[in-house]
Symmetry: D2
Subunit: 303 residues, 4 copies
């Protein structure tokens, strides 16, 4: 019971048409709804209403990120816990948000707005529930990832934000990078049984580093790189491998400069998995195992 | 809370040396303990004491299969539930089983012995917890899967066994095959958030069809096939793709005729995932999507 | 100098529309010309006019197969050699065949019609010659192989047909299967520096077993299998690996029952490569390394 | 007839033990001979005596590169052609070079020493000629490429060196990069029917940029990257894709700073293939399609 997985990311874009063209034609998401100032997207294997909302705003930025909880009752229990920690929680009623029912919203210690939701509108995946083909129809446009995977946010006080996620929301630590004084520079946290659902790395409060889509294997990573280059998309790093999480990855920028990732691999931690610890001098290969380098662009650019 | 994942499979072999040679040199597991009549094995990425026990016995067969629960308290709650269903539960004390503490044992409606355990001896994976390499050392012998994935057992009454797993043990149905009268011929069940942890298919009570190791991708599937053929192992089916679960797979027989599988792929069901239903006339491609055939050897041979 | 590579295969089909739909939508070839009774196809990376001609005829069958020679002068030299061997050679003038200039035609000892051509119409590949993208545009329909690779024909007297290809046409033997008396059951021959351009296996004179398209890797083989199954195409064998040639492969049937193959892998023989010899008792794994079986359907069905 | 393919590369190393350890344990070559000051290596699928010679010398550098010719008579014809061009040719007699018979040596216009040889000692590959396994034995150490593929040398006058390779030695141009004045900055040349056997890029005369080993696919490229990182080898660029040649690649440095490449992919040019032309402003993506960048380290470091 409790928090289940990353549900959707809501971001602002100054050019909704351009962003929409990119997320449909290059990333290969499908549009599930449009309102006056926003477009909603999902991946082909996702069953919920959306996993990405783009909203027009003159300034690029993160509106919020939303995690789904496992049971309806979890909302009440988590509301109590978050308020006890000292965060003000707002209940957003059914009808106020497109594609979902009641949710909780609050500001986490590092300043981002987080949402918890259980009641999401089901629209179904592309394959259906009756003797479905095990692969999507050939010829889906773009990268066409099956689903949203995780995100990475910044925090000035990584340990404090980590405590909030762990002690209040029940996340579990899978990996951490410590500086020479034993302070956390970065943490990787999971609730879904995958290697991470959210990561927090030292940086300005309120900032988002990237969100990531799942790909099924290394060959899909190459296909993604081919599609990105074919479309003139700027690749930030990769195809490469992470030391942290073991995953294979590409980082790249959407047309408005927001960093996206495609990710595959990782491992399957038990809830009582003993976390992995990286020393700061190994952070280079923790970040990019092949390059063994702390890329300044990677570490300093964010949304 | 509750059942977490498949922990270990305990089988009997009339030739412990031959079986041990196969599971180490061809499958690529490592031996973690030996007793007078048994050998214990684990995969390179597993942290627990073992995921396979081979015990000498003149007749090949399944001793039991064991699932790990998430918390120590789960044992008591599940004991109550299983006894309330009408199964007799035996508590196996710490010290009676190699590599683990107290456990529950009981016979499920289809006649196999099932075990539940929380307290397992941690021996650690091959990579460690301090700035570990994200890949195992090059040159591991054999197929070297990272971990055990799932198993398939037979039941004369699939629906009855399914009810036990779902109502008593809290498993969730991800896929089912129905005959023309709407009776379940096969069911796929999960607790771990993966596409299945155990499957139950119509067949003789007490029988096991196979257990499966996880591989990371389709290329590892080919590598496995190359290693199997190189060692003269009889392949039952594959490399191919399942319709049910979407996974890529090879089935093959160990030297004593016990069926093994290597498996990759699948999807990521939420706990409230609406199950997929296959009609009987689609079972052929549900089983083997490329061949579209109900192989008699596959359906009738078991342990 | 001399014979260069397989250029095109010309076959008959009783349903030109159905065959055309399959070769464009499932195989993913493009149509380059149509006449009253024939359709011409090429792969996306081929620069010549066509590599497949389908001609309407009430009865399925092979019209001819065509090899390109390296230089214009090769035609005269090869005409002399073929006639000296005792085959009657017909010169087909420019204008008589769509998409190519003058060619030679003759019946080989096993009864099939073979053509040699140098002057082929160039239509260019999909990428062009000016700073081209290294990958085709995303979203090509079907399997979309880059090019034709090789073919396999039958012969009642394999050794005699082999002598013709080797002594008269300059092909080189890369692999052979010998029966217990040392007679050739099958031979694999190359001119292009790849593992084979044509193979000859014991069977009825005049018959064709299959032609094959090149795929770039094992992942493309899976993608091909997914597309075939998605379209309900009957797979004959595979995805699997050959012992002979080492290639990865799938065999399957077009809608009129003509066998196609997709193939990748192999090695790179020098012109003086010492041929590999398979004994008859190893032919099973020579054919299909994973299955280790002489499939009767594979050995007895042909066009 | 004529030049066939790259046969071996002979380089100098100040630390023969360290270099030998790297080329056997990390690259995964096998040692076929040792003399007082040199070690000879081959890949597992190569049948000739060696494809790499390392010779002790206080200063790292290229001794020579050697191409095999198709027939014994080619040596005389090519000697005449090279001398007519104005290069002095030395005949090296059988017995003077380890692992091969008579050869020709001469300095090409860009200053490197080139060798031509036909008579090479055959030692056979790892699989043999009798019903061989189609895959090498599992567990070969290191990257274990099947064979040497191509090399890249520098020339102050690319066009002049290109003319020598094309007009005198019969190489064919597959791709070229032109500056704004139409001068060649880089050329890719083939004799073997593959996309390139040698490339020449603007840079100091006498210098070598890298030589490359063939890998079978993108998954082998990742495996190579994993092995390189595991061994702490410095990667120069990749895993990535070339625009020129379309290949997938990693560049990296041996322990003495000599650049190696692993390469897969490409296409299959006919002898009369019309060359592809890249404009200088597209050179970035011609070099590295994903990064779209002219890496200074890549362009300026050489041996």
């Amino acid at each position: 019971m409790g928090v289940l997985r990353l549900a959707h990311v809501d971001v602002r874009t100054p050019d909704l048409d351009l962003s929409t063209a990119y997320y449909t034609e290059v990333m290969g998401l499908s549009v599930t709804a449009r309102t006056a100032d926003a477009v909603y997207f999902k991946c082909w294997d996702e069953e919920d209403h959306h996993s990405l909302r783009l909203r027009y705003n003159p300034r690029t930025g993160l509106d919020l990120f939303s995690f789904r909880v496992e049971a309806e009752d979890d909302l009440g229990a988590l509301e109590t816990a978050v308020e006890r920690y000292g965060c003000h929680v707002t209940r957003v009623s059914r009808g106020e948000s497109v594609g979902q029912g009641e949710s909780l919203r609050f500001e986490i210690p590092s300043g981002q707005t987080m949402e918890l939701v259980w009641d999401v509108e089901r629209v179904g995946n592309l394959l259906g529930k009756r003797s479905p083909a095990p692969v999507p129809p050939p010829g889906l446009p773009g990268i066409a990832p099956p689903r949203l995977d995780h995100m990475l946010i910044h925090a000035e006080e990584v340990a404090e934000t980590g405590s909030f996620f762990r002690d209040v929301l029940g996340f579990r630590l899978t990996e951490q990078v410590l500086d020479g004084n034993g302070h956390q520079l970065g943490i990787w946290l999971q609730r879904s049984g995958r290697v991470h659902d959210i990561a927090v790395v030292n940086g300005p409060n309120g900032a988002m580093h990237h969100w990531a889509y799942w790909l099924d294997d290394w060959d899909q990573v190459r296909k993604a790189a081919d599609i990105l280059a074919f479309n003139g998309v700027q690749i930030d790093q990769g195809p490469t491998r992470h030391g942290v999480t073991r995953g294979n990855t590409i980082y790249f920028f959407d047309p408005l400069g927001i960093r996206n990732e495609v990710f595959t691999g990782g491992y399957k931690p038990d809830p009582d998995f003993e976390a992995i610890t990286w020393t700061e001098d190994n952070f280079g290969k923790g970040l990019f195992y092949y390059e063994n380098v702390l890329s300044q662009r990677f570490l300093t650019m964010h949304t």
